[in-house]
């Protein structure tokens, strides 16, 4: 049995007056062993980040402070040690890595400066030895050409490289505990897979205890030895990973796991006989950053869409799957003419939308509508919900009373109280705003709905609800859906057909079944292999209780 290296007893962290609850963390208990990865899972607002900051002594005092409990580490209570002692522990005995590697590194200092300062702040070491140590550790985190990386600035490295550099920075003094606060959330799924396996390897090699914070159960399934589940600042479940993942006890854990989409594609109704409603052919788009008048910025060329061909039938859900920069959003934007394609055609029935002028296009706009990713940016903060939903039909000539009437019906359809119509967007949660956005899109009674990462910014339980809503609406209204996502689990559950994009090109295109069970292209295979927790079979837990 491994000894405990970190023990949190009855931790309570207060929030300032006026926050939506009194405590960020409440009577929290946890212990971390040496040589294990303990995943702390929770949705946004669960207090997991604050708990981590409390361990590090990084709480934004005096507004947020630990008011009760103990954090025992190497024989002392971290909550009652002096600030200078705490400072000496940070970085040398307990380290932390963060979510956004671009902003977490100082942009005007080289990587070597930033790693070196950890060493000489805590230890005496001659310069030569420091340098050698850094090079060795960079090799250890699989960074090629360590010397070049050391002399680079953060903006010269890729996201994955930056995160590796951060990991090196955290491990350079061989700390006993590594706290990782959502370190892979901002990375592409393939990069994420590499970083996860790196953390696992390093943990074994350096005998570190890792406290890994995440919201993604797939990640938990991939690397966790033990799991702690947090809700509203409290610990609701704690145990071995296999136990918690396959036989969750607490209702909240059960609801969270039930909301995780399975990688096994569901069976879909046949659509082969349905007519094609949208056909995209030879779509091309190159983004040229031309350097401005008189050469202000340097020029760059990005091939966002290259000879893209796809088609959607009535009632079909076509998914476009890809990582960031693959061009999937660009294709969607070209279809609705938010972006002007360079060449190609988009046929809605007989009509090529790309050849129409803006004025001619207007009547056709009703037939294709879009739901966007960011629930906070997609609604005008200064308009009431009723106005937001009825604006579209009114622009197209529907009289105000009828438009408002339609708005109320739609609010009902998306599961919102009709009194919502009189409120402003900021009064709603992310999931509710997304429902409003869906209602707005449906207000024009489109045939085709394009959803650009509609659930990526939502918590997993809310995500499940919105996906369910979209499926219901699609079935009821016989909508065709173009669903863009980077999350293969979501794609497996929602889509009938999938197009996989890489660097602007569609590399594979087929039914969901085919793609998942028999991927042909190497990139598709790579993508599927990289999904965290792919070997985890989701337990069957019955229907999701809606909270």
């Amino acid at each position: 049995m491994n000894p405990f290296i970190l023990e949190i007893q009855n931790l309570t962290v207060n929030l300032p007056a006026g926050a939506d609850r009194d405590y960020a963390v409440s009577e929290f208990n946890l212990h971390l062993r040496q040589n294990e990865i303990l995943c702390v899972v929770g949705e946004s607002g669960s207090g997991k980040s604050i708990m981590a900051k409390a361990v590090m002594g990084l709480l934004p005092e005096p507004h947020v402070r630990a008011s009760a409990g103990k954090i025992l580490f190497e024989g002392e209570d971290l909550l009652s040690t002096s600030p200078s002692r705490m400072r000496r522990i940070r970085g040398s005995r307990i380290s932390m890595i963060f979510q956004e590697p671009m902003t977490a590194l100082n942009p005007v200092m080289t990587i070597s400066d930033q790693i070196e300062e950890v060493i000489f702040t805590h230890q005496e070491m001659p310069k030569e030895q420091r340098f050698q140590r850094m090079v060795n550790l960079l090799k250890n985190v699989h960074l090629p050409d360590p010397e070049r990386i050391l002399y680079s600035y953060p903006h010269q490295l890729s996201g994955g490289q930056r995160q590796r550099a951060m990991i090196a920075m955290a491990l350079i003094l061989e700390p006993a505990v590594l706290i990782a606060d959502e370190p892979t959330t901002a990375l592409d799924v393939t990069t994420q897979a590499q970083i996860l396996s790196l953390i696992r390897d390093l943990e074994k090699e350096h005998n570190t205890g890792v406290l890994f914070i995440t919201h993604d159960f797939g990640v938990v399934a991939e690397i966790a030895d033990r799991v702690a589940v947090m809700q509203h600042g409290r610990l609701v479940e704690f145990g071995d990973a296999k136990q918690v993942l396959n036989e969750p006890q607490h209702p909240y854990t059960r609801s969270l796991i039930a909301a995780v989409p399975s990688l096994t594609p569901r069976t879909h109704k046949p659509i082969k006989h349905q007519p094609v409603v949208l056909k995209v052919q030879n779509l091309n788009k190159i983004f040229r950053s031309s350097g401005g008048l008189f050469g202000g910025r340097s020029a760059s060329v990005v091939r966002a869409a290259k000879e893209v061909n796809l088609s959607i039938r009535r009632s079909e859900t076509l998914g476009i799957v890809g990582e960031s920069g693959s061009g999937k959003s660009t294709v969607a934007r070209c279809i609705v003419r938010l972006v002007q394609a360079d060449s190609g055609s988009v046929h809605l029935g007989d009509i090529d939308l790309l050849t129409k002028s803006r004025w001619q296009l207007r009547p056709y706009r009703k037939r294709i509508q879009m739901v966007f990713q960011d629930p906070f940016g997609s609604l005008n903060p200064r308009r009431k919900v009723a106005q937001l939903i009825s604006e579209g039909p009114m622009v197209h000539g529907l009289p105000k009373t009828e438009a408002l009437d339609r708005a109320y019906k739609l609010l009902d359809l998306v599961g919102l109280d009709p009194r919502s119509a009189d409120r402003y967007p900021h009064e709603f949660s992310g999931g509710q705003r997304q429902r409003i956005a869906i209602a707005r899109a449906l207000a024009l009674e489109p045939e085709i709905l394009i959803a650009d990462e509609p659930v990526s910014a939502l918590d997993v339980s809310v995500q499940a609800q919105i996906l369910q809503l979209l499926s219901d609406i699609r079935d009821r209204l016989q909508l065709s859906l173009l669903f863009i996502t980077h999350d293969l689990r979501v794609a497996a559950q929602v889509c009938d057909t999938i197009a996989v994009m890489l660097n602007g090109e569609i590399v594979e295109y087929g039914t969901t079944m085919d793609i998942f069970l028999n991927p042909q292209h190497s990139y598709t295979q790579q993508l599927i292999k990289a999904v965290p927790g792919k070997n985890w079979t989701l337990p069957s837990l019955g229907k999701i209780p809606l909270n």
Binding site: S92, A104, V108, M109, Y153, H155, G295
Partner: protein, 328 residues
């Protein structure tokens, strides 16, 4: 590509961008000339009636005032490029010579002001930010607020009233005591003695600007993610403030400094006329009252080009401070 190569290319690009700006300045001056009441030749010759009719006829012919406007523009541009900015009859000297004679004192005043304002501005901004919301911060903030609201000419006059007239510590006007015929270091001290009040006057306003900017910049940087990382690494407060926050916070201040140069030149008109400091600003003031529009326009063109040159230098300095060159 290495940082140095990138920097070089960036500098070349910026220098190339300066050319159309210079052209635009000349065209603007030409348009202003056209806008002025009276014949352009009269304006160019200075006061109406000071020049002989033959000279006027010569001027008219030289500038092609009977020809269409684009020919006139070209002729004007040619003149400017050959550094012919016209002639001032009041001073009996070509405009360019006049300007070059007076540029020294203005550069001295501006250089001193720049150094004082930026130096103390950054210092005060840092002091205010690291002890934010304490009495020290409040004091510095109040001081900047008041300085920012005070008219330059009034500060100058009040400073003269107190320190020159009442206490007699510094002279009331001028750049040096001409009658004393100081030489070498004595002359330097004498000029410095005269420089004290004008420099303080002009710097007060910009000091306020930089203090507020630096303070805001420091506070903004202190909330950034990389500062959290630095704390998580166990670095000392001092190191975080000086090595991490400061190096990022100072960047917007440097950019702003470039932008403020034009304002400083404008301010020097007021300060120089209050203190009788014999620089370009005072020359501009004098040309106003002599109705010597040609001289005034010459000063305008010259100072605009000067600002372009200084902006370019500030840009170059900036590239040494911020490695993200291609991102800009």
């Amino acid at each position: 590509m290495s940082i140095d190569r990138k920097r070089f290319r960036y500098i070349l690009r910026r220098a190339a961008q300066a050319v159309p700006v210079l052209l635009a300045i000349i065209i603007l001056t030409f348009l202003l000339l056209k806008l002025a009441p009276g014949d352009a030749a009269e304006v160019l010759a200075g006061e109406a009636g000071s020049a002989s009719p033959e000279y006027m006829a010569q001027l008219r012919q030289r500038f092609g005032l009977d020809k269409p406007i684009h020919i006139q523009l070209l002729a004007y541009m040619k003149n400017v490029f050959t550094l012919n900015l016209g002639f001032s009859f009041r001073h009996s000297m070509p405009v360019l010579d006049l300007i070059m004679g007076r540029i020294g004192p203005t550069l001295l005043l501006m250089g001193t002001t720049f150094t004082l304002a930026i130096g103390f501005g950054i210092l005060l901004g840092i002091l205010a930010a690291i002890r934010v919301n304490t009495w020290r911060d409040s004091l510095i903030s109040i001081f900047s607020l008041v300085s920012y609201a005070t008219p330059l000419f009034w500060v100058g006059l009040m400073l003269i009233l107190v320190f020159s007239i009442r206490f007699g510590w510094v002279p009331t006007s001028g750049m040096e005591d001409i009658a004393a015929f100081h030489e070498g270091w004595n002359r330097v001290f004498d000029i410095a003695h005269h420089l004290v009040l004008p420099a303080i006057t002009l710097s007060l306003f910009y000091l306020a600007v930089y203090t507020r900017l630096m303070r805001a910049s420091m506070l903004e940087q202190a909330g950034m993610d990389y500062v959290t990382t630095a704390k998580a690494k166990g670095l000392t407060e001092r190191r975080i403030t000086l090595k991490h926050i400061l190096r990022n916070a100072v960047l917007p201040v440097v950019t702003m400094a470039g932008v403020q140069v034009g304002g400083m030149l404008g301010g020097s008109v007021v300060v120089e006329s209050v203190f009788g400091w014999p620089g370009l600003g005072l020359l501009a003031f004098e040309s106003l009252f002599a109705r010597d529009l040609n001289l005034l326009l010459g000063i305008f063109t010259f100072s605009a080009c000067l600002v372009v040159a200084i902006n370019l230098s500030v840009d170059i300095i900036y590239t040494f401070l911020d490695p993200r060159i291609e991102v800009r």
